[in-house]
């Protein structure tokens, strides 16, 4: 019944999906944290940039961003992200870039909601000790904000894992592109759909459960 799977590199496709998800998750966590720092910071120009970035980027469909990365950045402007002429690598990197740019706006907002759960007195006490803005954020506010953002960040991560399928639009050989190929060549439509769906459930369900547990475990007691 599952014989047809032998003709396809399902494991390789799933691995590509995992790589897309992990690299994008790390990248968007970093960029999203920087955006959140800008949005709560004292510098008006940075605040304006952070606000504008989030409100523009999160409202553009991911497909548009990924397609622009490929058609606009690469094919028109010639950006290769250091991959030379290797189209597979170029497209993979462009997909990661697009996913980071897009997901970081959601990471920023999840973190900002976490920052808002930290009582203002915590930052006041830190400032009263003589800590600078960066130190207050890094040593007192963000550690508490991250702890209360674990569960909203898990939602963002789950959405990211599923969003990696958009990379199929620019030919990255990940799981959804493999499904397209299988459906074109095979007859077991429902079975194919079920296998692919199962792959994503296997990736996302533990993510949600584990991070949900972690979120409770690290919650700051007040």
């Amino acid at each position: 019944m599952f014989d047809f799977l032998q003709d396809y590199d399902l494991a390789g496709a799933v691995w590509t999906t995992v790589q897309l998800a992990v690299l994008s998750a790390v990248g968007s966590l970093i960029w999203g944290t920087m955006l959140a720092a800008m949005r709560v910071g004292p510098v008006p120009l940075m605040r304006a940039f952070g606000t504008a970035y989030v409100n523009i980027v999160r409202n553009i469909p991911l497909t548009v961003i990924i397609l622009f990365a490929s058609l606009g950045l690469n094919q028109t402007l010639g950006v290769t992200l250091g991959a030379g002429g290797d189209f597979k690598t170029i497209n993979f990197r462009l997909a990661v870039l697009g996913l980071i740019l897009y997901t970081s706006s959601f990471v920023c907002e999840a973190l900002r909601s976490g920052i808002n759960t930290v009582p203002v007195g915590q930052a006041e006490a830190a400032r009263a000790l003589g800590l600078g803005f960066g130190q207050v954020l890094r040593l007192v506010v963000l550690p508490q904000a991250f702890r209360s953002s674990v569960i909203p960040l898990a939602n963002v991560l789950i959405a990211l894992i599923k969003n990696t399928t958009v990379a199929a639009a620019i030919g990255v050989a990940e799981t959804a592109l493999l499904m397209k190929e299988m459906i074109e060549n095979e007859a077991q439509l429902l079975l194919i759909a079920a296998v692919i769906a199962l792959v994503f459930v296997v990736l996302t369900l533990p993510t949600g459960l584990i991070l949900g547990w972690v979120g409770k475990k690290v919650a700051v007691k007040r």
């Binding site: 009582p119 006490a125 000790l129 600078g132």
Partner: protein, 258 residues
Amino acid sequence: MTAVSVATEDKAATGELVVLNSVNKHFGALHVLQDIDLTIHRGEVVVVIGPSGSGKSTLCRTINRLETVDSGSITIDGKPLPAEGKELARLRADVGMVFQSFNLFAHKTVLENVTLGQVKVRKADARKAEETARALLDRVGVGAQADKYPAQLSGGQQQRVAIARALAMGPKVMLFDEPTSALDPEMINEVLEVMKQLAEDGMTMIVVTHEMGFARSAANRVVFMADGRIVEEATPDQFFSNPRSDRAKDFLSKILHH
């Protein structure tokens, strides 16, 4: 502004530590601080009392610029309070602050709360900082709780940790913003005892409080505020036995006679 700089110069000589000069502040239409002039000398314990909304907490918070002022000047140890940035942070390190709601860092242990400022601001060696922290925690009577988290402590213990945290910076002056107002009655004394000890050790203190007993026994001077103004300044004896202003008489009659 020239008058202010003249005042700045003779300060070090006379032992003036904190000087507020015609300080004004508004919250929207509310004029919370109206022409406040106040001088605190080295080693002096000044208790600020007054009805709710009189501006006494705001006054306390302007001294390390947790609240900005609209006009007037504040100088600490001869230096005008900087507006922003590193200079301000450096000055805040010299001004200890104890809050009504303790504000211990909830994600750090008691010990870490007391070492954080020493290590990150004073750049003290980690082991030295821990030694200092343990000694201070013992001094305020919570040495046994060093490895617990703030949420595991009683309010009185948390506030004593907060005092130790402020003392760890080696401050020139300590600000207390209603330190016992959020405490259960039976825990108020343990905090006041620590504060009295501190006063006897010669720490310069500005204490906003409703604890008249503390004001009587520990203060060198009582500042009575109402409606954003300093209405009366006197020694505790004078103030409690023979207040001059009607506003103070009214206030005392309401709190002392029942």
